[in-house]
Amino acid sequence: MGNFELNKSIIWINLLIWYREAIFEKRYLNNYLNGENNMKKLLSIFAVVAFAFSAHAGTLDDVKNRGFLKCGVTTGLAGFAAPDDSGEWAGLDADMCRAVAVAVFGDRSKVEFITTTGKSRFPTLASGEVDMLARNTTWTISRDVNLGFEFVGVNFYDGQGFMIPSALGVSSATELDGATVCIQTGTTTELNLADFFRLNGISYEALPIETNDEGKENLFAGRCDVYTTDASGLSSTRAAASDPDKWVVLPEIISKEPLGPLVRHGDHQWGDVVRWSLNAMIIAEELGITSENVDAQMSSNVPEVLRLLGVEGNYGEMLELSNDWAYQIIKQIGNYSESYEANVGPDTPLEIARGLNALWTQGGILYAPPFR
């Protein structure tokens, strides 16, 4: 009902038109005597009123009507969201977008990826230009409350780190006194950076940059000594360097950066769809369901597996999706582990161990509510 004011005025305009017609047109008398036509007109008014009040449908309906999902991603961060060799968007965040598209349409290709910078991401989401963001965005109270968004979960637990040329021989971030630091503006990392240096009583010069590519360019040219962003982003940048061995990521992790998908505040139905698309991937890993064995699992005797895959219960209907939505996600995207290993895991150029992102049963903190 975001356009409530507008809709009210539409009603008034329609009423005025009808009134004018009723008073001035000569048909008026006939219609009045006739009665039937008048009834039609009255019905048409009700239709207009009903339309005006329902015009602002939920995001889920908007997405369904449009036929594809609009998903906000980074301008290119290998492992999270970046076009691969064939021009297809790939990465952990890209998979998140695709999982939601699969949940809604059963088709992983029904996504339009819209690139956003650290700065443009929030206005883009707030204005409805994208349906959701899966863009390395840290869940903080001010974003959740003050900016009017809804973080639906965490798809990567990250923390802010520092990357520096190994030739400088620095082994700890506390030795960075006087360094020039490349920092993406409008991020939580910018605030953490100021706090970290203030806390340790050391000075630095900030070189503000807009995108990860700009950061790379300035770091590799030596305009800044240090690049700071989420540790995963550093691994990604390092992997993209011509000689990765020349760069080290310092051991300090100076912040909590739970990264997750987010939607606009207030549309709970849509929030639920995105939240459970993510949870379904995590639960699938817990239950050992992979894209390869998902068909065999359809005849499993574990009740939660059957509920997740839509064999039992009507959880899909509750979300206003088809009942095999989770099956399709696992079949077409895979479970969380598969997505992780393919995009950022130890076998990829990023070489990020599961760490915090392992399941809660395996020493990490990845935990999804039960599927029942």
Binding site: E5, A179, T180, L191, A206, N218, G222
Partner: protein, 387 residues
């Protein structure tokens, strides 16, 4: 027919009626936009109001030559740092663009074929390539300079690297204020001498060496005083310590890129304005002044330029306005101007886009109107005095 239309046949009534209608519709439109925005902001739980200005910014700005800035300072201070940085690049840019533009405009008219062709190429190139590209070009060149550890060194005190140009910083000791007072007094007295000399020349025709006497007053007298007081000034030299140079004055590549791009781009337009101005002075003026035996330099200074200025100044004003507004492109290279700091980072950290943008727009409007105001005063002073 007339009777059917009634009031409407009255031209005056009709005119007022339609004007009122247009204003009414306009006001309604504004009201509608404001109302809808306020409604939707509230609906989406987006914070509004001005209290965020007093909140600590939480981030650092490294380029703040006039104010000391810490991350615990408020967003309001971010705003002031931004305004000062915007003014810095605008004012220096305007000065450089004016000097360069005047020189090039005159050279373009010179009879030296090669020189005038070169200026022609320069003008056509720099005014036809988008300014944003020029800014990025200059910046890309500047960050390809040697790294800080391999800085180029000049005269043992200047260092150039891709972190900027480092130079010694003067430190004024007690007693230097007398030198400053001497300079101010010298400026005032030169001004008075100039007026007196003009009057005397008008009366008697005798000339007075105003230029040299002013130079003497402004430079030589304070210099002598400076040495008498025992040189109350020392220099802090930049030194490479750890990652960076410590101490000294530094001019950042972001600033240099902005300064170069803005002044070179605008100078191209100004040179065309100057050329048009000079060409607008009729050829007869030059010939007549040559006929009465004036020197070439005097013809330019006393006859041509004063008349050309009447044509030059109005479009020059709009070039100054353009340059100031174009300085907002500093965001492309991370120059910490108003748009980058307050209209960018503060906006993004607080999420209060409308408030920040309103303030930024109002600030540019104020700066532009101030420039126009002073240029209009100047313009009036150089117009023909009709009696």
């Amino acid at each position: 027919m007339r009777s059917n239309l009634g009031f409407f046949s009255d031209e005056k009534f009709r005119s007022i009626f339609f004007q009122t209608l247009v204003i009414g519709l306009f006001a309604l439109g504004i009201f509608f936009i404001v109302n809808t925005t306020a409604y939707n902001l509230e609906k989406r739980n987006i914070a509004t109001g001005w209290s965020f200005l007093q909140n600590p910014a939480g981030f650092d700005i490294s380029f703040s030559p006039f104010l000391e800035f810490k991350s615990t300072d408020t967003h309001l201070k971010v705003y002031f740092v931004g305004v000062l940085n915007t003014l810095l690049v605008s004012i220096t840019g305007c000065i450089a663009a004016t000097i360069l533009g005047f020189l090039l405009g005159i050279i373009r008219l010179s009879s030296n074929w090669l020189l005038s062709r070169l200026v022609y190429i320069y003008v056509e190139f720099s005014r036809n390539v988008p300014l944003l590209l020029q800014i990025i070009l200059w910046y890309s060149i500047l960050i390809q300079l040697p790294r800080v550890k391999q800085s180029l060194q000049f005269l043992d005190v200047f260092y150039i690297s891709n972190r900027g140009l480092y130079s010694p910083r003067p430190i004024f000791e007690s007693g230097f204020s007398y030198v400053l007072i001497a300079i101010v007094l010298a400026l005032v007295s030169s001004f008075l001498i100039n007026r007196w000399a003009k009057k005397r020349q008008d009366k008697t025709g005798q000339q007075f060496p105003v230029f040299f006497s002013s130079i003497g007053l402004i430079f030589v007298v304070p210099l002598i005083l400076f040495f008498i007081l025992g040189s109350p000034m020392s220099f802090e030299h930049p030194e490479l310590k750890g990652f960076n140079f410590k101490g000294g004055l530094v001019i950042r590549p972001e600033f240099i890129a902005m300064f170069l791009a803005l002044s070179i781009y605008t100078a191209a337009f100004i040179s065309e304005i100057v050329r048009a101005g000079i060409m607008s002075v009729s050829k007869g003026q030059r010939e007549a002044s040559a006929a009465i035996g004036l020197k070439q330099t005097w013809i330019m200074r006393l006859i041509i330029i004063p008349q050309a200025l009447r044509v030059i100044v109005p479009p020059l004003t709009s070039q100054y306005l353009n340059l100031t507004k174009n300085s907002s492109l500093g965001i492309a290279v991370g120059y910490a101007d108003l748009v980058h700091g307050f209209g960018g980072i503060s906006l993004n950290q607080t999420g209060q886009a409308i408030e920040c943008m309103v303030i930024v727009m109002a600030t540019y409007l104020t700066i532009s109107l101030t420039i126009s105001f002073f240029m209009n005063i100047y313009n009036r002073s150089i117009q023909f005095k009709e009696k």
